[in-house]
């Protein structure tokens, strides 16, 4: 059976966070959002003809992920309508994981209940920190108190799979504050935690402020201490890390949707700036993405046109490099038998002696592990993963 994930990008935010480089615009008035939802439904229906129930090779959606932007800005009925469109066009796996990113500033009891009733079964709460000062630095529109309330309301609404997003290495955040945040998050008993080091992305206000010397990037040493300390705390609390920035309380809570990104599995992205990866002719991947422009997106959909802006037919080499570099993000690494099956060659035959030697140098230095059927990074290796991944691109 052909399985696929579905990503739905909701490009609205109450206010843009100064570190974020995902595509979003101001929430605007309700009419734009309802036009947007209609456009989204249209895109899903169109894609359904190609990949859905009645296509030649129908995909079964086994994960749906509402990301953004701020998906929780939409009305639950709108989410329900979009999910309905997915169900109409695609077969939906019985145990499908349906995630929605929720900003604590936008959640109330009623809304969360309605979302749960609409079919959302996994809530990813963008708490980021449990320190109000840090939240202020990040210009978040919610407090630590709101975070706690949102988790509690979520549980009350019937969500038994709740994830918390946390950030560290934020200007002004001490190592103690980070530990404190993590412990508070754990005390709320989430099923999943994402924890990522603040990245200064090109074109964001944070990066401009850093270049002007208004804020300082946390030094690499402190950043990694926070990361490593975080992993210890998570492990003590019974969490298993399964990806560079993700840990779950047991295998069943691993985010299956995100895992697809790191496993060269198929996913369809809907909404402006959404990315898709599908397996095309001869099993080679096809990547495409929509333009990052809400207005243009809505107009294209209303005219019955495509909003695809970039289109890339992967070569065997592209697929292999994406498979390896994303695969190495996962703690379990890469199954070399799987590599052989996918690319009809052993990994070292594929990349050659020089790459093997360089990789094994990393293994010798304790950055990676290699067994007959597996390669993976150690925590030490994750800290410098780009260096190792670059061998394979």
């Amino acid at each position: 059976m052909r399985k696929a994930g579905i990503y739905i990008h909701i490009p609205f935010c109450l206010r843009k966070c100064p570190y974020c480089d995902f595509y979003s615009i101001a929430a605007g008035d309700g009419s734009l959002r309802s036009r947007f939802v209609k456009a989204l439904i249209k895109e899903i229906e169109t894609a359904g003809k190609k990949y859905g129930k009645n296509s030649d090779s129908p995909m079964t959606a086994d994960t749906i992920y509402f990301g953004g932007g701020t998906p929780s800005l939409l009305e639950p009925e709108q989410i329900r309508a979009v999910l309905g469109a997915v169900r109409d066009s695609f077969a939906l796996a019985k145990d499908a994981e349906i995630s929605l990113e929720c900003n604590p500033a936008t959640a109330d009891e009623e809304k969360l209940k309605d979302l749960r009733r609409a079919g959302v079964n996994r809530l990813s709460i963008g708490g980021q920190s449990f320190d109000d000062e840090v939240l202020k630095t990040l210009e978040r529109l919610h407090s630590a108190r709101d975070n706690i309330r949102t988790v509690e309301l979520g549980r009350k609404a019937g969500f038994d799979n709740i994830s918390l997003d946390l950030m560290f290495a934020i200007p002004g955040q001490t190592e103690e504050k980070w530990e404190e945040t993590l412990k508070q998050a754990l005390s709320l008993n989430p099923q999943h935690i994402s924890f990522y080091s603040l990245e200064f992305m090109e074109g964001t206000p944070f990066t401009r402020r850093m270049e002007k010397g208004l804020i300082t990037e946390t030094d690499a040493e402190a950043d990694r201490r926070m990361y490593e300390r975080g992993l210890e705390i998570l492990a003590e609390a019974g969490f298993s890390q399964y990806e560079i920035s993700n840990a779950a309380r047991g295998r069943e809570y691993i985010c299956r949707h995100n895992m697809k990104y790191w496993s060269l599995e198929e996913y369809l992205g809907f909404g402006p700036s959404a990315h898709s990866y599908v397996t095309g002719e001869q099993g080679r991947g096809l990547r495409f993405c929509n333009a990052a422009d809400v207005a243009a997106y809505i107009e294209a959909m209303e005219r019955g046109e495509s909003a695809i802006e970039d289109f890339c037919q992967n070569s065997l080499k592209d697929d292999a490099s994406e498979y390896v570099f994303t695969g190495l993000r996962k703690n379990r690494g890469i199954d070399l038998r799987d590599f052989r099956k996918k690319f009809r060659s052993g990994i070292w035959d594929f990349y050659g002696k020089d790459v093997k030697e360089e990789f094994e140098e990393f293994v010798r230095c304790g950055f990676a592990d290699e067994t007959e059927n597996n390669i993976k990074l150690t925590v030490k290796g994750m800290n410098i993963s780009n260096r190792i991944m670059a061998l394979f691109v």
């Binding site: 920035s245 996913y267 992205g269 898709s276 140098e361 993963s385």
Partner: protein, 602 residues
């Protein structure tokens, strides 16, 4: 003879940035040679590189036609001069082709080092000097003080010096008139035996070498057989003409005139600057004075950078050599860098210029190794080897002693800097021969100094310690026994021969420390610690460590935008490709140039 009355041959001399090139442009524009629209800024500096650095390296001569207020039409031959000690010889030959010099002094800055250095060069050639005050339009201009300075320091009457602004075109007419009045007309004998001075030459793809010459006596015509007296080569003249500034054939050049001569000459080194041209059939007996054969003083290795083809570098070097008599090269190999070339230069600036031209004009990526002079190595078996590549130094047990080249350095400075410059010279192992007061405020120091102390950054240090007023000239005198040692650099315990250099024992520690510190800044972090060591033989004299890297990770990889992350990794891989791999250590190309410059204050 009458026609010579209407010729004026002159150079413009100035301290750097005093506006020489802008003034030349203005003269060209005023005399109607080139329309304003067609003018690139600074017409005479014809290489981009020169325009960028603001210095003239290669000369270009221009003939201007000027209608004077006295009702006559004059021919002005404007001969531009380069502006650096590396090219002092070329400057002196250009000046020798003139009767006069327009001395440009920035009215906001006053007299400076090169002003004087150039004045002395001009006086050596018995030129009439016409002072001009430039930048008169600036509010900070102080013409009266500047005039006083010219009179006091140089001893020239500046009371009538034209006040100009080359930038704004002020005072140019006045200057043109003064050139007519004050600069003497040539007075050669057109019927005498041909005697012409080569003051420049360049290579042209169609015509072969173009000689730029000043005719002192006699005349030269198309079809004549000329003889170059120093190189003793003979050529048939295929074309003669004037520079307007592009060549305009005239069929003949007569005494007093300046122009170009072509004769199917294949290499500029066959038509050397300073050589005397005469007629083969009716030669003059005496050569013009001042000829010197230029010698390479500084050597370095030039290697193709990663991904660059050896052949491309070789072709480019050959092309440069055709055009530059002072530049030479031969193949060599390095364990670290592979196949490349050992190249000889006049000085460090000359070297930098050649390297930049390789990079810009030929679009090549090259690596240069530490510059070196030629050492005379006397071996225990009595044989002598001349070594200009530190890697070729014989094993210590085979060496009886090493001799290094010593130069006589003449340094001219305002008297208030005597103390600090003597200190500098002493630090560079200089021996004071004597010191003389040229004027009550100007001092000339005569030193003997090892050339290897001069080539690194002596000139820069001199300039900075004298606020730009110091000037330097040097010439080789002899080889002298010296306690020099080979300083090696080890990266992660492995010797990288391209970094090896020969230094005096007393300097080895400081230099070793400097190189290690510099490399520490430049070598990127690796997954392991990289020790950087400087060593003499087995003995490590300096050490630094590049720490292992700690963090290089994409924290967030969601939303399915894999392409962007992949691009990031590809970029990283590309960056790695630009590095040079030595054993397990990756070294960026710029490391090689960064360790060249020795900064005393570090």
């Amino acid at each position: 003879m009458d026609y010579q009355k209407y010729i004026r041959n002159f150079s413009i001399i100035a301290h750097i940035d005093h506006g020489k090139s802008t003034l030349a442009d203005r003269l060209i524009e005023k005399t109607g040679l080139v329309s304003r629209r067609d003018m690139k800024e600074q017409f005479l500096d014809n290489m981009d590189l020169e325009r960028e650095r603001g210095i003239t390296i290669k000369l270009q001569t221009t003939r201007l036609v000027y209608d004077s207020k006295d009702g006559n039409e004059y021919i002005f031959n404007l001969i531009d001069t380069p502006g650096h000690v590396d090219f002092n010889y070329e400057v002196s030959r250009s000046l020798a082709a003139c009767e006069g010099a327009v001395l440009v002094v920035d009215a906001t800055q006053g007299v400076e080092a090169q002003t004087l250095a150039n004045v002395y060069l001009a006086l050596d050639e018995n030129l009439e000097i016409l002072p001009v005050l430039n930048k008169i339009d600036l509010p900070s201009a102080r013409p009266d003080e500047t005039k006083e300075e010219i009179e006091e320091v140089i001893g020239l009457d500046a009371s009538d010096a034209p006040l100009v602004s080359a930038k704004e075109g002020i005072g140019i007419d006045e200057l043109l008139e003064q050139i007519v009045k004050h600069i003497p007309a040539p007075s050669g004998d057109p019927d005498g035996k041909l005697k012409a001075l080569i003051f420049d030459s360049k290579y042209d793809n169609y015509k072969g070498v173009i000689i730029y010459a000043r005719i002192f006596d006699g005349q030269v015509k198309q079809g004549d057989i000329i003889r170059l007296m120093n190189t003793k080569k003979k050529y048939e003249v295929t074309e003669v003409g004037v520079c307007a500034p592009n060549p305009v054939p005239t069929g003949i050049l007569r005494a007093g005139e300046v122009g170009y001569i072509c004769g199917s000459i294949k290499q500029v080194s066959d038509a050397r600057v300073g050589d005397t041209i005469t007629l083969d059939s009716d030669p003059t007996e005496e050569m013009l004075p001042g000829y010197k054969k230029v010698q390479s003083m500084v050597y370095c290795g030039i290697y193709p950078a990663e991904g660059e083809k050896y052949e491309n570098v070789k072709d480019a070097l050959e092309k440069l050599q055709v055009n530059d008599a002072a530049f030479r090269f031969e193949p060599e190999t390095s364990t670290a860098l592979g196949f490349g070339f050992r190249c000889g230069f006049l000085g460090l600036l000359h070297m930098e210029i050649i390297v930049e031209r390789l990079e810009r004009e030929f679009n090549l990526a090259v690596i240069t190794t530490s510059p070196s002079v030629i050492y005379k190595v006397v071996k225990t078996d009595g044989t002598v080897e001349m070594i200009q590549n530190p890697s070729n130094l014989p094993a210590p047990q085979e060496i009886d002693h090493i001799e290094e080249p010593i130069v006589k350095a003449d340094i001219m400075i305002p008297n208030e800097y005597v103390g600090s410059i003597m200190e500098l010279c002493q630090d560079r192992r200089g021996k004071l021969l004597h010191m003389e007061y040229i004027t009550p405020t100007r001092v000339q120091l005569h030193y003997e100094m090892p050339l290897n102390e001069v080539i690194y950054d002596f000139f820069d240090a001199l300039k900075s310690k004298t606020r730009g007023y110091g000037s330097l000239d040097y010439e080789f005198v002899r080889y002298e026994k010296s306690n020099v040692v080979k300083l090696d650099v080890l990266l992660n315990k492995e010797l990288v021969d391209a970094f090896s250099m020969i230094v005096h024992e007393s300097k080895a520690y400081a230099r070793g420390r400097f190189v290690c510190e510099k490399l520490k800044e430049i070598i990127p972090m690796h997954q392991f610690e990289v020790p950087i060591q400087a060593a003499i033989g087995q003995k490590v004299i300096a050490r630094e460590t590049v720490k292992a890297y700690r963090k290089d990770v994409i924290a967030k990889c969601y939303g399915g935008d894999i392409s962007r992350k992949k691009k990031l990794l590809e970029k990283q891989k590309e960056g790695k490709k630009r590095m040079r791999q030595f054993g397990t250590v990756e070294v960026p190309q710029e490391a090689f140039t960064a360790v060249l410059k020795y900064d005393d204050n570090k």
